[in-house]
């Protein structure tokens, strides 16, 4: 964990800064230019003060009078340097901000582009929270040092100018500066090295606390129904206490170094007064010079800390940058061929010796079957038998580890980008709705007429509740579709697939939350549509008999292997697992009746 300011981290950090500078040359140049003006003018304003003290104040008090011209010049110097300095500050701040925000946006665009490009298998390996933080906190941390960077460059200009000015003014007084300012810089470095790991730890704990709260509130119903509030509070309290202690540790270091960093330049000014008095005694300097150098010290005390700010941000920046880079350089993005799939008629699906594994854990073994155009096949199997994984390969959400999925004889991996989703639509088990209107959720941005949308909604039995919504198709469905019931959301997801008139329609237990009566209507609608020209080849994952009965053929899976395939009637006769599964309710009823009659007999 790169949380300390080590030389390796420094080198990496400087490289990160280099990347930003190369990417935003013009903005950086502008920021540095303004910052240099600021740096130069800070020193110049001290010099103007000294000049005014020497040429305006002292003569006035000494001789009792000064000429108007000198007063005017003194005033102009003070005001002029201040205006230029203010201009420098404004430009520096603005361009530093612009540079930082541009780089953040650049990283965010790159990272989210990768999210869209990388295969689903990659998404499965990375928790949602991590991906969100890559695009948000990490992109921010990576470029955080850009905010103080131009100021730090300006401060270097300031220090060099000040050093030169002081050496010219009086080398002995300059010596005080050469002792004090490196001491401040050194103290700052020690400060940041001590602070950095503590701050990183506090940051991590803050994320942990948030994680617990998120999870616990998401599972609030479970916590409540099982009466586990005390345990959950204890879990949260433990993390919150860790965070408290980590924050106090940060505070201890801050509390020590902040006053020290403020005291050091003040001691410097006092040293200047003492040394200056001695120099004045020997006639080496004037009182004006003394004032000027003392004033310069008070002006430099604060900006010099900017060097420390950049250093402080570097370790976090390196971590953030590396995380962002890890996403950007992630490989395994899906390769596309250039084959096109035909359009219009129902597709032919062939699954050839397909195997799939999550990591080392194999969930599908050597699965082969084909579905002729226009036919409907039901995939049936117990919970956890690999059905959902299998149907994901049909739309290339994942690629098989071995074997292939072919549509009309073309391996899906050879189809051009976008080609598969044009031909095949999957309605997944978990409904996902976008924070968009009903129309937007059905069309997903395709140019589809409202009439076609209503047609699809009607087929999905969703036209009724959609027309009852306040703004019809223009109703916003809210974050993750929370304003709708589970069954309503599933019907919208179904309409989304149907509206595209897919050549292969894949339904993964897509009507589980729909009332049986409504489901029956959906199924009969699909059956009617199958008789028209808009027919699709259909693969359906189902438990319900009515759904299975719609199929021309059944493929029965257990533990990721095809156990049997054939018509429903054939399988009922010859496949025991299948029979047990689909007739579970009847058998149960029969057994119970038998049991009850036994009891009656016994009684």
């Amino acid at each position: 964990m790169a949380s300390k300011v080590t030389s390796a981290v420094m080198r990496k950090g400087l490289r990160v800064l280099g990347v930003a500078i190369r990417a935003e040359k013009v903005v950086f140049a502008a920021a540095v230019l303004f910052s240099s003006v600021y740096g130069g003018m800070t020193v110049a304003s001290a010099w103007a003060m000294g000049w005014a003290a020497e040429n305006v104040v002292r003569p006035a008090f000494g001789a009792g009078d000064v000429t108007t011209g000198v007063i005017a010049l003194g005033t102009a110097l003070i005001l002029g340097t201040a205006v230029l300095k203010a201009l420098g500050v404004a430009g520096r701040r603005y361009f530093a901000g612009v540079m930082q925000y541009r780089m953040q946006a650049r990283s965010r665009r790159g990272v989210t582009r990768q999210y869209l490009k990388l295969p689903l298998a990659w998404h499965h390996r990375h928790p949602t929270g991590q991906l969100l933080s890559n695009a948000n906190a990490d992109a921010e941390a990576a470029w955080a040092p850009l905010a103080p960077l131009p100021m730090a460059v300006g401060v270097i200009v300031m220090l060099v100018t000040a050093a030169v000015a002081m050496v010219i003014t009086d080398p002995v007084l300059a010596l005080v500066g050469f002792l004090i300012f490196p001491a401040i810089a050194l103290l700052n470095l020690v400060y940041q090295r001590r602070l950095s790991p503590l701050a990183t730890r506090a940051q991590q704990l803050r994320a942990d606390v948030s994680e617990i709260a998120h999870e616990s509130f998401d599972g609030a119903l479970v916590v409540k129904t099982l009466g586990r509030e005390d345990q959950e509070t204890a879990r949260f309290r433990a993390k919150a206490s860790e965070l408290r202690d980590a924050n106090i540790a940060v505070g201890r270091v801050r509390g020590l170094f902040d006053p020290l960093l403020e005291a050091l330049p003040t001691l410097g000014v006092l040293a200047v007064l003492l040394v200056g008095a001695v120099r004045l005694e020997s006639g080496a300097i004037t009182a004006g010079t003394l004032v000027q150098v003392a004033y310069l010290f008070t002006l430099l005390a604060f900006p010099i800390r900017a060097l420390g700010w950049v250093l402080a941000e570097l370790p976090r920046a390196v971590v953030g940058y590396e995380r962002v880079e890890a996403v950007l350089s992630a490989t395994g993005s899906m390769e596309y061929g250039d084959a096109a799939l035909a359009s219009g008629s129902p597709a032919r699906l062939e699954v050839r010796e397909l195997s799939y594994a999550y990591g080392d854990f194999r969930v599908l073994h050597d699965v082969s079957f084909e579905v002729e155009p226009g036919r409907t096949v039901a995939l049936v199997g117990p919970t956890g038998s690999g059905k959902s994984t299998l149907v994901q390969t049909f739309v290339r959400l994942v690629d098989p580890v071995e074997g292939a999925v072919l549509v009309d004889g073309t391996d899906l991996r050879e189809v051009a980008r976008g080609g598969v989703s044009d031909a095949v639509s999957l309605v997944p088990q978990q409904t996902f709705l976008f924070d968009d209107t009903v129309r937007g959720n059905v069309t997903l941005g395709l140019p589809i007429s409202d009439q076609e949308v209503w047609e699809a909604l009607r087929l999905a039995q969703a036209d009724g509740f959609v027309s009852a919504l306040a703004s019809g198709l223009d109703t916003m469905v809210g974050e993750r579709g929370t304003t709708l019931s589970g069954g309503q959301r599933q019907r919208l997801a179904l309409a989304r697939a149907l509206v595209r008139g897919p050549r292969l329609l894949v339904l993964d237990d897509a009507t589980s939350s729909v009332d049986p009566q409504v489901e029956a209507k959906i199924l009969s609608g699909l059956r009617d549509a199958a008789a028209t020209s808009a027919a699709s080849t259909v693969v359906v994952v189902a438990y319900r008999m009515a759904t299975i009965a719609l199929a021309d053929e059944v493929v029965y899976l257990e533990h990721g292997r095809i156990v049997d395939r054939g018509t429903h009637d054939d399988l009922l006769v010859r496949c025991e697992g299948y029979r047990n599964l689909v007739t579970a309710y009847e058998r149960e009823e029969a057994e119970r009746e038998a049991l009850e009659s036994d009891e009656e007999i016994n009684a």
Partner: protein, 590 residues
């Protein structure tokens, strides 16, 4: 009350109420404050040293080096002393604020869990999380930086002004005259900034929502080939955020350096007037030079003022939101120690003329009366929206009835201690929420003291041993965030096992096996029955196989129980149940 409302309060009252909840902060606050004042005095050491040196050390033709040395040594000692005060003040401040805010966090967290389901659902989850994270952080940021800065800045201005008036009231007035317009304008600048920051926050929120949609909806986006549309939406959100940030930065960059210009005007004016006064003999040279240093003390307080005011505003807003949670009474409250403790054993639940309506909504249950005898199997059926889930929530006291009452063994549910109630009556909701951990850890959530052997035994009793064995690491298989590594059906299996292990006297299943295959469902139902001899089981299901097996079926229609009785009786008479059953049979067995 169903949403987080809290009480309308002024800023001061908010702070006072907030502090009263966190006594740790007030302990020793006076000492911390005294140290802060001492630390602030350190700021005027330099101007005073300069003034003394010039007026007394450099008055004669030759500098009075011994005098200057004394001044420097005394001042250096003062600097070190005030730095020490600064250190002590900081440590005390961090300790007090962190301790008090940790308390506030935990209180808020606990209170969210104590709120009723209705109140919890009236807020977005993310908003509730913010109440115990971001909002508290905002308060802490203010207490440790902004609040301190206000003390330091006001102190600095005050001490500097006092010294100024002591040196020359004319020049002091002049300095104030220069800075006063800026001070008056500051609140306006702060309003601009605050509006700009709000815009940035909104744009950032939009951007995060877009990013999260693209990650959570990854499968749908790929399945429907809408990558380019999503990319456009993302770019728009990211760029809007960037533009809002840049606009805000422009305001900051313009306002911030204004103080420098005003300070320069003050410097020039002081020199001009100072020279005249000096000629008249009203002030000394050292007084005038000291002024030049004192003016610099005005710069930093005013430069950071807008930011401090902004933070103060955020902190107050954060505090209001946290108090909004804490002041929302848990409307379904635990009677606590005064409540009834039920002995374990068979349980009788009665609904006595129960009515319910969601706040501001039409009634959803009307005069429901029902008796659930011990050791019975009850099925609750009805179409979506018929009131069966409301019935379940009242039975488990996730909500309280608007009229009538629900009793358990003769006691009103409202009188029963939560710890006792949650042990006796457990509900398994449809969405089997799992925590990020292993399968065993999730099952153990039902009974924290259960051993691994007991968990394994429970899985065997439920007929799930085969399934567990087929998982990559058996009971130690990680289920992923929110259980996402498992299928929907598998998550329900774990949720069921969790409730089973809790071993309640009444188990309520709210479509708890809707995504499980029929054979497994039947096996589970039988297993639950087998061990539930002695236990009451209430099931809500749209698969009517459950109803067929029940002792009694309660048929809900439009908020009323319209039919009740065993399946065989109900299915024989024309009515709601016969229709439901017919359509289920045609779906399940055609």
């Amino acid at each position: 009350m169903t949403s987080l409302q809290g009480v309308e309060r002024s800023a001061l009252a908010t702070v006072r109420r907030g502090l009263s909840l966190t006594p740790e902060f007030r302990n020793g606050l006076a000492g911390t404050f005294a140290l802060a004042v001492l630390a602030t005095v350190g700021k005027v050491i330099v101007p005073i040293a300069v003034q003394q040196t010039i007026d007394h050390g450099l008055r004669g033709p030759v500098p009075d080096v011994p005098f200057i040395r004394t001044v420097v040594v005394v001042c250096a000692a003062a600097v070190i002393l005030t730095a020490l005060c600064g250190y002590l003040m900081n440590v005390r401040l961090y300790r007090a604020t962190e301790a008090s805010l940790a308390t506030l966090r935990v209180r808020g967290f606990r209170h969210v869990h104590d709120l009723s389901v209705l109140t919890q659902n009236s807020e977005r989850r993310g908003a509730l999380v913010s109440r115990v994270t971001g909002d508290v952080d905002q308060i802490s940021a203010f207490m440790q930086w902004g609040g301190l800065m206000i003390i330091v800045a006001v102190g600095q201005l005050l001490v500097a002004s006092v010294v100024m008036f002591f040196l020359s009231w004319q020049l002091a007035l002049l300095v104030w005259a220069c800075f006063l317009p800026l001070m008056i304008a500051l609140p306006r600048f702060q309003r601009w900034l605050s509006a700009a920051y709000t815009r940035v926050r909104e744009r950032t929120g939009d951007m995060l929502a877009a990013v999260s949609e693209s990650v959570v909806g990854a499968a749908v986006i790929r399945a429907y080939g809408s990558e380019s549309r999503t990319a456009e939406r993302l770019d728009t959100a990211i760029d809007a955020n960037k533009s809002a940030q840049a606009r805000t930065q422009l305001i900051v960059a313009t306002v911030f350096p204004l103080t420098e210009i005003v300070a320069a005007i003050a410097l020039a004016a002081v020199v001009l007037l100072g020279v005249r006064l000096g000629v008249g003999g009203d002030i000394s040279q050292g007084d005038l030079i000291a002024f030049l240093f004192l003016i610099t003390l005005f710069v930093s307080p005013l430069q950071i003022a807008t930011e401090v005011l902004n933070e103060a505003q955020n902190a107050i807003a954060g505090w209001r939101r946290v108090l909004g949670v804490l002041d929302t009474p848990p409307d379904v409250a635990d009677p606590g120690a005064d409540g009834v403790e039920l002995p374990r054993g068979p349980i009788t639940v009665s609904f006595e003329d129960v009515g319910f309506a969601y706040p501001g909504g039409a009634p959803v249950l009307h005069g429901v009366s029902a008796e659930i005898p011990p050791r019975s199997r009850i099925a609750v059926v009805g179409e979506t929206g018929s009131g069966k889930t409301t019935f379940a929530k009242l039975l488990t006291r996730l909500m309280d009835p608007v009229s009538g009452r629900v009793t358990v063994d003769g006691y009103d549910l409202r009188e029963v201690r939560f710890s006792s109630l949650r042990e006796r009556i457990v509900m398994v909701p449809q969405d089997g929420f799992l925590f990020d951990g292993t399968l065993a850890e999730n099952v153990r959530f039902g009974r924290p003291e259960a051993t691994d052997a007991e968990i394994a035994l429970a899985m065997t009793e439920l007929g799930l041993a085969d399934w567990v064995e087929g998982l990559p690491a058996g009971l130690d298989t990680p289920v992923g965030q929110r259980g996402e590594s498992l299928s929907a059906g598998e998550r329900q299996l774990v949720a069921l096992a969790r409730a089973y292990l809790a071993d309640p006297d009444l188990l309520l299943l709210d479509e708890a096996t809707s995504a499980v295959d029929p054979a497994t469902e039947v096996r589970l139902a039988r297993a639950l029955e087998g061990v539930t001899r002695g236990r009451t089981a209430v099931s809500i299901a749209h698969r009517l196989s459950t109803a067929e097996a029940a002792d009694e079926v309660l048929v809900f229609d439009r908020g009323r129980i319209v039919q009740r009785g065993p399946h065989a009786e109900l299915v024989a008479e024309p009515g709601v149940y016969a229709d439901l059953h017919a359509s289920w049979v045609s779906a399940a067995r055609s």
